[in-house]
Amino acid sequence: MVALTPTAGAGGLAATQAGGPATSSRRRRRTGIGRGLVLLICGIYFIGPLVGAFWFSIQDKVHGGVQFSAYAHVFSAVGFSDAFMLSLKLGIGTVLISLLLMVPTMLLLHLRAPKFRPVVETLCLMPLVIPPVVLVAGVGVVLAWGPNQLAGTPLQTFLNAIQSGKTPWVLILEYVVLTLPFTYRSLDAGIRSVDIHTLTEAGLNLGAGWGTVTMRILLPSLRTSVLNAAFLSFALVFGEYTVASILQYQPFAVFIVAAGQTEGQLSTSLSLLSLLITWLLLLLISLLGGRNSTKVDI
């Protein structure tokens, strides 16, 4: 530092030049080792259990060595396809309803009613502090109490409808609530990073209506945050166990636990498959979100 000031003599400069590179090289080496250590610890923490699980799932307990029968049996396991399809349905349903509900709400909040933002934020973040088991206990009580107390009312019809049929709407609706914090946070971060006020006004100024502004200008600009919200919601639903189990449904997560009670290796291979699906989704979203343009047909 001193050597860089005009008052430093040539000697000082030379001394610094001689010592500088060596010192900075040592510092760089130390920093590099520190980083490597942190990465190693993180790697062991995150990848270690996965490697262990994979190793467990391919061990041949009878003859020794390795075998992949657990993976070969995954797709033919009884109940696998039903559970998988149910989870898929729940995930897609939750994502669609969450986005249909939250995207317009968030845009309205930011554009038209910013003073209500703290209220909506608090409401949306509530599921983070209320354990799912508490939520589902409350829902369970209402579902048990409702049909008797509300007999003959449209509410009774509604309560019956969301529990019957092939699609468990009651689960989807509950998952919409559970995923609210993630949907809210993702969309909020996206909206804050884009000047939606100016974009909206620019669109209106050019003659676009609100629908066009939303669909052609705002949503494409918020694509990454919408995809993030969708991914987080889907991942949460795909791995959710508590609510589904208490309400006596058997999506993928419940199926894995059930399978684990009889076939440990199958259960582990299913868990790894579940992770793989999540990673693939993340990759897909990164690819989609990474595209910085949309093809607009002018």
Binding site: E201, G203, L206, G207, T212, T294, I298
Partner: protein, 371 residues
Amino acid sequence: MSSIALESLETGAGTTVEFADVHRVFGSTHALDGLDLKVRPGELLALLGPSGCGKTTALRLLAGFDQPDAGSVLVDGEDVSRLPANKRDMGMVFQSYSLFPTMSAVDNVAFGLRLRGRGAGDRRKRAAELLDLVGLSEHLKKFPHQMSGGQQQRVALARALAISPRVLLLDEPLSALDAKVRAQLRDEIRRIQLELGVTTVFVTHDQEEALSMADRVGVMRDGRLEQCAAPSELYQRPETPFVAEFVGTMNRLPGSMVPGGVRLFTQVVAVDGVVPPAGSDVRALLRPEAVLVEPADGQPGHAMVTTATFFGAVTRLRMTQPDGQEILADVGSHRAADFPAGAQVLISVLDRPVLVRPESESTAATVPGRA
């Protein structure tokens, strides 16, 4: 740059705009307090004023992003106060970069044309022409994040012009740009505006921008129009103390009225406009360039140089008189060496009529740095 047939752009040349006793209140703030203003067909009118004076509110009312609490906004005599923004046919360039981030430059420009049902070929041709007009024919396919701020604002200008706006609205479009690009784009906007003859309202807090670009400048203060006049008139003959102090830099020199004019230093100078009675104390409003200085060369001086600030062609001298009164004078930079700090100087003023104000008249304005 542009070789397009400008007549094909069919802009809103000839459109008049009028604010008739417009009021807009936000809570306890009267953003517009009875604004009356007429914009003539084809002219570029700049609204100039300090922050919070209501100039942006006026522009937003004209664009349709807000509605007046009272009064009317008229375009070609038609009251558009309640007309939605997307029905007004006004092209606007915003202060912040407003290009749609997921569209290329050509798509941005063509967006408004698509909404108007123009055919694909026509849209593309016209968008390309307009980008050529603003000097960006090489950047048709670029996305906003691949362009500089100046380029983005050019595309925004092309996009605003593409829809053949009745009125072009410019909301401090140059404020986010660096000085060189700002000066360049300023000239281009004016050139294009003159070529197209589109009625333009330009909001700015930069007086240099307003004075250099506009046909007329409206100076606003506290939601009202203080004065609206051609730049030279505004500069030479400010009607209110606020305008005098806000536009450019003004000395307020104490003087006394005598027969034939106002006595300033050793001179008697004619008075411009209303002449106060002889014997009254006044303040003469003098621009720094109207103050002449000479080295005292050993004589008792009128003032002492305290600082000299280099502005390129001219150097501004800040001087203090024996009574503590400060006075500013511009001298050619080639003469600046004659006036070092601490030098005694003799002061005179240009022999032309000056504006005077009664001594008692106060100003609420803060004098900006320089014009």
